[in-house]
Symmetry: C2
Subunit: 237 residues, 2 copies
């Protein structure tokens, strides 16, 4: 937070409002991370109860998004933020959209798990999926850390992880296709596993979106779609 003026306003109440938004984003992020973890657990253990918990808790994730969004709109209307405060608010609006969609992906994974209950023959496919899920969870946690500490180096590091997840996903997909070709009866089940894997891969994409917002927030530069993430940092640092 060193090079931003967050927490340095004349109005103490305004400071508190901005701090409160940040805290709530991190709380939402924590819940979404937990949802992802439980979704992966439900897939590995094919436990319908855990899967149902994830599906039920998604309502809470959605409610958090709507509440934070409302708080941002109130701050925009009342405080008319400028410069880095304004970037904080717009970064938050975008971040919570991605967090909510990560929550949706976790729910999707849980639904697939629920549908796979009893299908023991796909269990052996879950080692690689577990690995992919852990990787996505590390990315999500890293993106939230980068947001919490406004740490652009961390943001770049996590952003770069996304390509690795993409490669892991492609490798897994090839394996799953081979499995389908060898055992055609397994196709409906394996396809569900493919969709779960794809949901995890998308979580990586969304975690890297959050990293881009962190960089925008700190540096005031929009690095999306530029492929210049690294350069945009080294220009200034």
């Amino acid at each position: 937070m060193d090079n931003l003026n967050l927490g340095q306003h004349i109005s103490r109440r305004y400071n508190e409002e901005l701090e409160d938004v940040r805290t709530r984003v991190l709380a939402m992020g924590g819940l979404v991370e937990q949802q992802l973890q439980k979704a992966m657990d439900s897939l590995e253990s094919l436990d319908a109860g855990i899967a149902q918990q994830v599906i039920d808790n998604d309502l809470q994730v959605n409610a958090m998004e709507v509440a934070i969004d409302e708080e941002c709109n109130t701050i925009l209307a009342r405080r008319q933020p400028a410069a880095s405060d304004l970037r904080l608010i717009t970064a938050v609006i975008k971040t919570i959209t991605d967090l909510e969609r990560i929550g949706d992906e976790a729910e999707r994974i849980a639904r697939m798990a629920g549908e796979l209950v009893g299908e023991t023959r796909v269990v052996k496919l879950f080692t690689q999926i577990r690995h992919l899920g852990q990787h996505a969870r590390t990315m999500l946690r890293g993106a939230l850390d980068a947001f919490a500490h406004l740490d652009t180096e961390k943001a770049v590091e996590i952003w770069n992880e996304d390509r690795k997840i993409d490669r892991e996903y492609e490798a897994l997909l090839r394996e799953l296709m081979t499995y389908m070709m060898q055992d055609t009866d397994s196709i409906p089940c394996v396809l569900k596993t493919v969709f779960a894997a794809r949901a995890i891969e998308r979580i990586g994409d969304r975690a890297s979106n959050i990293c881009e917002y962190v960089i925008y927030l700190v540096k005031g530069k929009d690095v999306r779609h530029t492929g210049l993430l690294k350069e945009s940092l080294s220009d200034e640092d």
Copy 2:
């Protein structure tokens, strides 16, 4: 626009700025719609040239998103919009994110088409995919129309279409699975077709997101995740 105060500001320049943002969103929407159409064409004709055009043009979609986002931030900082003006800006920020992601889905469809060139045996699967694509395109156009005319009735109508697309997608998926089971050599190709179908289904989701923003903009109510879209309208109308 009857019940909003857009276009009724003392500053003519401010009016023009808000109008300009709206126009640019619609221009971006037009380009994304065209991208979707071309992506579907590339899939139906398995034409690598058209697929490549879609991939190339995605850069333009991305650039439009960044430019409109920047314009919104400038208006937020300089004009400190309130009430419906503020809702317009936040609705635009969210809408262009979904438009950009629809552009990404179109690119994804085109990439699948590019990879399927020469695979004539999947051509017969394309009738239903074409239908799904047309449906998604109608939804996107409808969502953009609702945005252009701030038409909440249209927004609700289009929003309701999404469930139909989901059902069509599920039916198509079952058909594709059967095809994979009957002809295992086709699995890699059919799986690409599955991914293209899924991308189309996602476009429906995103078009319905845009409808929710239109309702928020006009009514000042956040109807996301509530399942109360219809009721929230009939309460007031």
